[in-house]
Point group: C2
């Protein structure tokens, strides 16, 4: 477990979206946008939606995590004024959680942060990806590059 | 080479930012936000900025591409009205290009699309990542999940 600087934690908590990269055992990367919460220790993101053609367990991110738990997750701010660009990049490990206290805790936080989940109860019962950050790199325009 | 549907190509061309995932030879993923252009065949993104602590050649994405050319790149639209979420996800191969016709072509397109590059000539001379898409998956809220 790592501790983020207060401004990093605040940036994560205010963000509405992150991008999560996983990789298969043979090293093929895969990136998806995710809604997420951060509780000061883990990040949680739901395997949500109403998959029709692809059962949840066959989603690429789920298959990848079963083969290879390593993840990269970025929260970034883009605007046309490039002097205000910013990101927080986390490296860590992800695992699927589909029951137990952390699963309920994650869904509670997701419903608090995203009213959309409160309005769509049918998607609020799926598995969660629990991410434990192991390294953090932050960058703001005008400061040093770190990644 | 694959051909994108006109609405996919249009979505890529209008987007200001994408997220690019690479992976090291041992399968550790890495994701960064990138400005990019699409010329109907390749995507190009600059290895830009003014790295101080990390020389360009040591950037994680560059080291990863030298070890493992596979990339995943996503362009997505997020808003609080989740019925308007959308993405185009590309899988393909990336390589570093630091001279030649494609390098000049890429910088020309980047300067056309991003006035910021025209104003920052000192960053407009770095290497380019040239990405050849091999597979595309598109998703819009209300349609089927594909990834």
């Amino acid at each position: 477990m790592i501790t983020l600087a207060p401004e990093e934690a605040d940036f994560l908590r205010r963000a509405r979206i992150a991008h999560l990269a996983t990789a298969s055992a043979d090293g093929t990367p895969h990136v998806v946008p995710v809604c997420f919460v951060y509780d000061g220790r883990h990040l949680f993101t739901a395997i949500d939606g109403k998959p029709k053609r692809v059962p949840r367990g066959n989603l690429r991110r789920v298959r990848n995590l079963r083969e290879n738990p390593r993840v990269s997750l970025i929260v970034d701010h883009y605007e046309e004024e490039w002097s205000r660009l910013r990101y927080v990049l986390l490296a860590g490990r992800g695992e699927i959680v589909d029951a137990g206290p952390d699963w309920g805790h994650a869904w509670e936080l997701l419903r608090q942060k995203y009213p959309q989940y409160r309005a769509m109860r049918e998607v609020g019962s799926g598995p969660i990806i629990r991410i434990l950050p192991e390294r953090v790199a932050s960058w703001q325009a005008g400061r040093d590059w770190v990644s």
